[in-house]
Amino acid sequence: MLKRASVLPEPTSPLDVSAPLSVRNLTVAYQDMPAVSAASVDVQAGSLTAIVGPNGAGKSTLLKAALDLIPRREGRVAFWGRPFKAARRRVAYVPQRAAVDWDFPATALDVVLMGLYAEMGLVRFARRRHKEKARAALARVGMGDLADRQIGRLSGGQQQRVFLARALAQDADLTLLDEPFAGVDAATEAAIVDVLRDLNAAGRTIVAVHHDLGSVTSIFDRVILMAGRVVAAGPTAEVFTPDLLEATYGGRLAVETFPEEGRRP
């Protein structure tokens, strides 16, 4: 039943230098509690990949550890064969919406401009072309009219779209999203899917931590199944199977297929 797991890279195998993100033997622990154990996986260039697994499976942790946001206990990570520091400009990260204080005195445009940080450089300010770029990114997520609204006055879905627009402004080859569909309305979900598909059609690679098993097959062409370790990874049709999901979720699958309120089945 775990045949697929055997196609995962060996922990000791070399990093895949062509992969936008390549991980070997990654272990992360929070105060001796392992969150991710010996994960080895390659993200295929040009893919639209979902990271799927139960709560506490280490999905977000995998992304954060790859991005040097939390210390790794063990393991190697590379973006196109290079450390994250050297590949920063090609990678965009969309944190969970709940990770920030939306009461912050900033407009949607202010937040999207943060995506142009690397372009602006130290001790420089946003110029007109930066603002135009940021407004264009907001327009792409259907938020053109709300650019000057304070972010606390936006709905949850609109806030999520602001985050996505910030990533768009970064114009990255690889975009990593942490639960972009958590608690958003149907219109926002559709808008986000459209944007991700557009990016993907333009050859960009997308990786999203995803909770909603019902929409995996319709959105993503590849899946990484996680349960502390990487259970399986590959094309959706091969990996998103009942037996592998059973292996990932154990007895909790029934609960997860009928998600609680706020998530669309």
Binding site: L69, V91, A99, V100, F104, P105, D110, V111, G115, A118
Partner: protein
């Protein structure tokens, strides 16, 4: 009116510069929900300042800063120790360490020779604005007279330099400070070095606390860190206007507080004036209260966007 230049001008300049520097830093502390860091730092530095004075015998900025820094490091170590040894939560450990160090500073002041000079308990707590007399300031023309300017109390220049440093830091690293305050995780991914700027902000908070200590005292400095920015947040939903409002409130508190302390009791028929630093803090508190009641962006007036 020549009295004003001699007796009141320099205290007002020092009070205003201290309030402005505190408010600039305070905006970011308030946004990061770290307002009490200002309080904590101002408490912790007291024993360091006193110890530096006892060792060097002078009230000079470099030893004071060094003492304050050492005190801050000792505090950090003690907090870690109390947490580990006592197994208590971080908030409790901090509360115990900050107040203990502050108490130690007060005891040190009372029992040592520091008491007889400029440093005594009252001044440490309430500042020493009224003592900043400009003896050569015989009129406004003294502002253009080099020999008179040479007699300006040194605290004035110190605070002006501190204000200039804080202003330059905030303007130059505006993007990094904003990004690190709003979304430190994202800031790290784009290379905006949030940890570095977090440390820089803490260092600057300590510098401002040490120098404002001379002006408004170590307890009231927290009011200057928190009240103007908190009131400003209730006036606007944009950060640049918020900072501008906070600066305006800082000036209003410093000047208004000083004037009220000096003349308010006389207007009410009392014979003596009250503590200027205390009145400055009171005015800043009243401004915050007014903003809570009437500020256009207070919580109750916010429309929540369309439901998610």
């Amino acid at each position: 009116m020549s009295d004003f230049v001699m007796l009141s001008l320099m205290p007002m300049v020092v009070g205003t510069a201290a309030a402005l520097a505190c408010a600039l830093v305070g905006n970011f502390l308030v946004l990061r929900r770290q307002s009490l860091i200002g309080d904590a730092v101002s408490h912790v530095v007291l024993p360091g300042i006193v110890a530096a004075f006892l060792l060097t015998g002078v009230v000079a900025p470099i030893p004071m800063l060094a003492g304050a820094t050492v005190a801050a490091i000792v505090a950090a170590g003690l907090i870690a120790l109390v947490r580990r040894a006592g197994g208590v939560e971080p908030g409790a450990a901090m509360g115990v360490v900050f107040t203990s160090l502050f108490a130690a500073g007060v005891l040190l002041l009372e029992t040592s020779g520091a008491r007889s000079v400029h440093l005594d308990v009252e001044h440490a707590l309430l500042g020493n604005l009224e003592s900043l007399i400009w003896f050569e300031g015989l009129g406004w023309s003294a502002l253009l007279d080099p020999s008179a300017l040479a007699a300006v109390p040194p605290q004035v220049w110190r605070l002006i330099v501190v204000l200039a440093i804080v202003s330059a830091f905030v303007v130059l690293f505006w993007k990094e400070l904003v990004l690190g305050s709003f979304d430190p995780v994202f800031a790290a991914t784009v290379g905006a070095r949030p940890a570095l700027f977090d440390a820089a902000l803490m260092l600057l908070t300590a510098v401002v606390a040490v120098f404002a200590f001379e002006a408004v005292g170590s307890i009231l400095v927290v009011a200057m860190f928190v009240c103007p920015p908190a009131a400003a947040r209730l006036m606007t939903d944009r950060l640049v206007p918020q900072v501008m409002w906070s600066l305006a409130f800082a000036v209003l508190s410093a000047v208004g507080g000083y004037v009220l302390a000096g003349y308010g009791p006389l207007w009410l028929g009392y014979q003596s004036s009250v503590s200027a630093a205390g009145m400055i803090a009171v005015v800043s508190g009243l401004i915050l209260a007014a903003a809570c009641v009437a500020g256009p962006r207070r919580k109750g007036t916010r429309s929540i966007g369309a439901p998610a």
